[in-house]
Subunit: 221 residues, 2 copies
């Protein structure tokens, strides 16, 4: 039975889970939730996702929401499907796992917190015929620019956001992480992909003057 | 060598780490960071915590920031110090760990995201002689009230936020989680403690009409 992914094609969090399942070669079926019609606020939906958001998964009866938790679950359950694990082993390499959790927390608190707001204003509100709140967009952009400055500092010392300095692999080709070329590439890097591209392609955030983020931005690889 | 905890006594995130270390019987030394004097923005500090926040730890030369990542690290490294682990085993019980990660993500996205803003406005800004932004306080309160409604629904089905329905232990005394009485009590529950108390004691958020959150609020236990 394939994993059922309840989500929306415009949702970065749905895309995040889809990307992780693709990396781990997990067959899944996308079941679209009609958010414009308010399906995510129905009692039936709230019974599976009490916050009324997307996505959630149904893995043979096991219901799970929150895109990062789903990614952990896929990376743990299907860890043998992939050559280079995207999640360090918590017990065998406690420090490496701690660094990974540090980067995951940074992703959530210094990146997603603001991109979520921007996506809401620039994408979701217009779907409901509402005007974007320019103040929120402006404040979020400022925070994201601050984060980019710190990312540039972090990436000046290591190749990936949760990467270990001592195992830098310069010049590796971007193709798929599953082939094992990226020893320090983790779920955290995947967590950034769907929004890095959107914001840089729309020129909302510039990598100019941030050479290490520019290198990290896979569109230039 | 005891773990050095660089933080501030008014910081909930510092308190969170201190509580986890106490639960795991890990000796630590609190080294106060003088944030009013801007110590957290000095080059020396940013070298250890690039975002210029508190807390971070120095465990015999291993530097780690982000309070949740530090909690993971303590719970993993010192897992034998405690009878009832606060972190489920990722590989032995993949689904339980996934539920834990789900609750940790909810804590970050639906709770901390707003409490952090309120603490900033009500506690930090006045330290720098700035007026709190009432609009931010009001918006955050509204979001926290929504979260409380969902928490009440979640807690109507299970005892703790990452708890398993099938192992509910009703009427257990709150004393210390380390004694093993709380099989479903996890780091996620500790993550809420420092702010649940602050906000309910200041009557900023009411548990009225939310009987399951009321039960969860340890001050009434």
């Amino acid at each position: 039975m394939v994993v059922k992914l309840f989500g929306a094609s415009f949702s970065g969090h749905t895309l995040r889970v889809a990307m992780v399942m693709q990396e781990y070669n997990v067959p899944f079926e996308l079941i679209k939730v009609d958010m414009v019609q308010g399906e995510h606020q129905s009692d039936a939906y709230l019974n599976n996702h009490p916050f009324g958001q997307v996505p959630y998964i149904d893995d043979d009866g096991f219901i799970l929401y929150e895109s990062r938790a789903i990614s952990w679950y896929i990376a743990t359950k299907y860890r043998d499907n992939i050559k280079a694990p995207l999640l360090p082993d918590m017990y065998k390499d406690t420090k490496k796992y701690a660094i990974f959790e540090q980067a995951a927390s940074v992703n959530e608190c210094h990146w997603e917190r603001y991109t979520t707001k921007m996506v809401r204003q620039l994408l979701i509100e217009p779907m409901f015929d509402n005007e974007p709140d320019e103040r929120v967009v402006e404040e979020s952009l400022q925070c994201l620019n601050n984060t980019f400055d710190v990312y540039d500092r972090i990436l000046s010392r290591q190749k990936y956001l949760a990467g270990d300095v001592s195992t830098i692999k310069v010049g590796a080709e971007i193709d798929s992480v599953a082939n094992g070329a990226f020893q320090d590439f983790t779920l955290v890097d995947i967590f950034h992909l769907h929004t890095f591209h959107v914001f840089s392609s729309k020129a909302l955030i510039s990598t100019e003057g941030r050479p290490n983020v520019e290198r990290y931005d896979f569109s230039s690889a």
